[in-house]
Amino acid sequence: MASSDGNKNTEPWGGFDDNIIQGTGSAVIDMENMDDTSGSSFEDMGEMHQRMKEEEVAEEAEATEEETGEDGEFLGMKGINGQLGRQVADEVWQAGKRQASKAFNLYANIDILRPYFDVEPMQVRNRLIESMIPIRMIHFPQKIAGELYGPMMLVFTLVAILLHGMKTSGTVIREGTLMGTAIGTCFGYWLGVSSFIYFLAYLCNAQITMLQMLSLLGYGLFGHCVVLFVTYNVHFHSLFYILWLVVGGLSTLRMVAALISRTVGQTPRLILCGTLGALHMLFLFYLHFAYHKIVEGILDTLEGPNMPPIQRVARDLPVVATSAMNAVNTTVKILGVILQSQ
């Protein structure tokens, strides 16, 4: 039965009853409003429940006191009202649990990312191959898949390849760890450059979403993975330059074409694609030269006038790994010399 004193509800959903909020009024609770959670948070519900309980118990206790007519001591949490303590505690626990699970479901819910991982292996394979094939259609927006599985796997693969390169080059990181540097570099590039290009795209009025940009740049790292995998093991400089231009260039062209097709106007296109192209190619250049070792001795005698711009001193490496690599290097260099002399 609804209490009608002081009910100035004008809302269609009943509004907050005064007798509930202030904890006074009749002992009969308006259940219709109690169950209505629209506009009230779980916190309020928990508190309301708690107040309800305490009210009821207080009323019962008052009623009992009136019946006995004596003025005894209030035993607090003990005595017959020890149950009050337990029930209140129970109620508080329930309210807290409800709140915590609600917050958890809201923030730690990985289901937000689930649609971006909805791919088949065939699709991933096709997209990897397509990332090396630039499409020349620039008058109509090209389709860019919004997917995060492929890019993430490629970034991790790049991290693994970088680790391999750093280990075999004996890179010593003073203020950190190899793993931290590799992860930081790769993820920093992927996320940072994506955000930067997305920001530029926003300025240049290009039609691309952040997810698409992440996906595009992620798949563009496939070329980097291939080049680095080959050149970290085969230290032949001309080979690196050729691969850098061809493979790196192809994947950059693919990204650039996709962006051009979604931008209007010459200057915005130039800005956007120039920036992306420069960053992408320079990243590959940096990865190769900053984290890999150039084997001295044999290089000097065979390369002659083609001296590489950056040289490093040989560090004490595991002898066997280098000897295995030296064998491969010498073979390739001898082949190179033979080809040059023909």
């Binding site: 202030q22 009969v28 005894g72």
Partner: protein, 229 residues
């Protein structure tokens, strides 16, 4: 029911006026809705001696090791997951991988942290990935499986260490390469035997690849380990 006082009365004021003297008999039954402990006595493990607890846990861990060594599609590893085994393996591996870099006084420290971070961070990423791809396995079950399947790689580390005692020539490199490759494939195969059932059938490759990468990185760390002279 008597009406409660007027609206001017503050909320909890009535509570402090309530008093019951202790010697007034109260009738009726009070059932406290708390779970009775008497039913839990047989499941309560608080009172048993510590030796029993440790032995029981060690037996569970040992049983799971056997499951990893002979991987067949059983759900024992998944049902009673625990993280003791992975922790033990991770710490052993990290300790053995220490002290094997170029400047040992600079890199001895981070080596332990690196291995630890790689293993746990990598496991978390793979678990998240398999959940996002529609897997039915729970978070800790997956961590448990991935951790236990590091065991072949730990065994390979021990073998490599022993081989390195005999010298670090080409022969030892070939032997180590073979041992690490074998154990890395074994790890990948063992973990797929446990994890594959929880995935939709056409997406197994998508889940296996990160596992492959993960064990490959660990295997690479083991292979390139060389103790400082």
């Amino acid at each position: 029911m008597a009406e409660v006082a007027e609206s001017s009365k503050p909320m909890f004021a009535g509570l402090s006026d309530v008093s019951i003297s202790g010697d007034i008999p109260v009738e009726g039954e009070i059932n406290v809705p708390v779970g009775t402990p008497s039913q839990d006595n047989e499941y309560s493990t608080l009172d048993e001696p510590v030796k029993d607890t440790i032995l029981r846990d060690l037996k569970a861990v040992g049983k799971k090791f056997v499951h990893v060594m002979y991987p067949k599609k059983s759900s024992a590893l998944l049902r009673d997951w625990d993280l003791w085994g992975p922790l033990l393996l991770c710490v052993t591996l990290a300790l053995m991988l220490q002290g094997g870099s170029v400047d040992s006084k600079d890199d001895g420290g981070p080596q332990f942290a690196e291995v630890f971070v790689i293993i746990w961070f990598g496991s978390v990423i793979i678990t998240l990935n398999s959940k996002l791809l529609g897997g039915t396995i729970s978070f800790f079950q997956s961590l448990c499986v991935l951790g236990y399947c590091i065991m072949p790689l730990t065994v390979a580390m021990v073998v490599c260490r022993l081989v390195l005692l005999g010298g670090s020539g080409t022969v030892s490199f070939i032997v180590r390469l073979i041992v690490v490759t074998a154990s890395f494939s074994w790890s990948t195969f063992a973990s797929t035997a446990f994890l594959a059932d929880s995935q939709p059938p056409n997406r197994k490759a998508l889940v296996v690849y990160p596992v492959f990468l993960f064990y490959f990185v660990i295997g690479w760390m083991i292979l390139t380990f060389s103790p400082s002279a």
